[in-house]
């Protein structure tokens, strides 16, 4: 069986007023039906990775190298009709701000139906009934009425459900979710997370879930990839990452989550801020903030150390740190 997703040495650079080396040699693979959380701070390149997957990067201002294969299709070589068929049908996406990602002047029903009509080639009426069915599945109360609502007439949680319904309407093999719950309240967030989990099982699709909240990653995913400065610094199953994060950055993130931290104690904070990525990093990008930094870290990019199975860490201390724990 082909891999659901195979990213090799993906490199994305934005040019324009400022040059940003947003993604640097990222490789990633996913099996069918797997859920992966992409974890990282703001600006680490999570969204760019997802956009690259959908071919949504602005063609004039970005250059993309490497390869992306989804179900064996070479995504980067797609264009025109083929690209349109791929987007939304093979892979679809849920955005962070549902209020912005829905067209404000069309009813939500129309927007879902539009996608269905395009990929399934059915009539408008059929597409609308599919849309209604999807709204039901994402547990929108009185879906029939909501079908004819405009996005601004819905609450935040409801809009995100609509987004999910829209993304799943054509039964994609891979769902990309870009921080879909960050803008939501905790009580709504957990509802959406559980809904996604359920739908994932039901539809059997693969999910890439972008977040910067470890707790959310735990709730949703089997595997976690931690990104820093446009690179994947660590990958493993959720359990491995939570229990045995090896990269100092992963550890810092875990500590900063404040779960189980004594009240009033000093936090073991990662100092400083992420690099600006104006030049392509040629050493460990985390070195300036790392408490275990060694001269070698500043000399060259640390190798990706692959340990048991699909677990990998990009740190010279990959083993040493484990020993220290």
């Amino acid at each position: 069986m082909t891999k659901l997703l195979e990213i090799n040495d993906l490199t994305v650079r934005f040019s324009g007023k400022r040059t940003v080396h947003a993604i640097n040699n990222v490789s990633l693979s996913m099996e069918q039906g797997e859920t992966l959380a992409l974890l990282g701070e703001s600006g680490s390149g999570k969204s760019v990775t997802l956009k690259a997957l959908l071919g949504l990067l602005p063609p004039k201002r970005s250059s993309v190298e490497g390869s992306i294969h989804v179900n064996g299709t070479d995504v980067l070589s797609l264009s025109g009709k083929a690209l349109q068929r791929y987007r939304g049908a093979e892979v679809s996406m849920v955005f962070q701000e549902p209020a912005l990602a829905l067209d404000p002047v069309y009813t939500v029903g129309h927007q879902i139906a539009e996608s269905v009509m395009r990929h399934k080639g059915v009539s408008k009426a059929d597409a609308l009934s599919t849309a209604l069915d999807m709204l039901d599945r994402v547990r929108i109360p009185s879906a029939n009425r909501r079908l004819h609502s405009y996005p601004h007439e819905l609450s935040g949680g409801m809009r995100q459900r609509v987004m999910i319904a829209l993304a799943l309407a054509c039964r994609p093999r891979l769902l990309l979710a870009d921080e879909p719950t960050t803008a939501l309240d905790a009580t709504v967030q957990i509802q959406i997370l559980l809904l996604l989990r359920e739908l994932q099982k039901e539809f059997g699709m693969g999910v890439i879930f972008v977040t910067h909240d470890i707790g959310v990653a735990v709730e949703i995913s089997e595997r976690v990839a931690v990104m820093y400065a446009g690179q994947i610094v660590e990958e493993g199953t959720t359990r491995e990452i939570i229990r045995d994060g090896r990269h100092p950055y992963t550890q810092g993130l875990l500590a900063a989550n404040l779960h189980d931290v004594a009240r009033g104690a000093r936090l073991n904070a990662i100092p400083g801020a992420p690099p600006a990525l104006e030049v392509k990093p040629d050493a460990c990008p985390f070195a300036p903030r790392c408490s275990h930094v060694m001269p070698a870290c500043r000399a060259a990019l640390p190798p990706m150390v692959t340990t048991e199975g699909r677990r990998r860490v990009a740190c010279l201390h990959a083993d040493a740190v484990v020993a220290a724990e």
């Binding site: 701070e41 703001s42 109360p141 609450s155 935040g156 949680g157 409801m158 309240d185 905790a186 009580t187 709504v188 967030q189 957990i190 509802q191 997370l193 559980l194 910067h212 909240d213 470890i214 707790g215 959310v216 735990v218 709730e219 199953t237 959720t238 359990r239 939570i242 810092g252 993130l253 500590a255 900063a256 989550n257 404040l258 779960h259 189980d260 931290v261 009240r263 009033g264 000093r266 936090l267 073991n268 904070a269 990662i270 100092p271 801020a273 903030r289």
Partner: protein, 349 residues
Amino acid sequence: MSVTETYAPSADTGGPGQPLLIVRDLQKHFPVSGGLLGRTQAKVQAVDRVSFSVKKGETLGIVGESGCGKSTTAKLLIGLTEKDRGEIIFDGHALGERLSLKDLRRGVQMVFQDSYATLNPRLTILDSVAFGAQVQGLADPKCLARKMMDRVGLDPNRFAHRYPHELSGGQRQRVNIARALAMSPRLVVLDEAVSALDKSVEAQVLNLLGDLRAEFGLTYIFISHDLNVVRFISDRILVMYLGEVVEVAPVDSIWAEQAHPYTRSLFSAMPSMDPDDRTKEPPLVGDPPNPINPPKGCRFHTRCRFAAEACKTKVPKLAGLSGNADHLVACHLHDAASGHPKAGQGVPA
């Protein structure tokens, strides 16, 4: 001369036993206009019947869903929004009687959520920090501002003349803190002060806040929707729902037992952090109701699993738990006289 020496808060008047801030029955309803002649048609009941007090040197955390009135409460405290009703007593002096708004604002400062929007893009960092001290007529505001910047970890030589857009989010939030502290307040209201920051930066700022509290003997009101953060920094936690206080209790007490069904749902909604024991059921369904026409009686009754007829009509009072008088809750389940079928039995497990 150290920063601590330049820090000159207003004198303590009521002694350590006197709560620094007492709020009684605070209310704010925003009018919503509409209709034929644009007359007020409805009111957003943003804050209703809110009472609490903050002891000297403690940190009170306020949590609640979006739109429940946290920010409005904060703004009411320093008079940025005019209150409809209620009393604000700062260190024994009631606002409007022996305490002027200007004096209150000297003693109480606020740090806002959006670090960018709270800085005037046309002023240098130094000018922003020094502005308050200048207004309050403190001596040598620029020098004071530099010291404060230094104290919050921003090298004045590098940052004094920068503009807000030349700073990162964490740095801007430090500026906001420095600006608040430059006024030598005794109470700082932090409205989602770390919510917009990345986790790693959030930890830095939380550390800083802890240090400052110790150094200057500050009292905080810390507003957040992240329970982990609130627990880390607060002594007591106040839970709001739709403009009302539903529960107030010391951290340990509330962590051990959430007396209000809403509080319990809120806590259960936290991601589990244990891959082997993930959340199974959403603790609450649906979104919070619209505060324009909040439900009658107990405002939570529309989403409450234990709601009974009494909850729909009768407004529950905030009262101490039978076994723990410091733990206040407004729920008919805890009030033996409420008329709820299970009154006085507490929230079932």
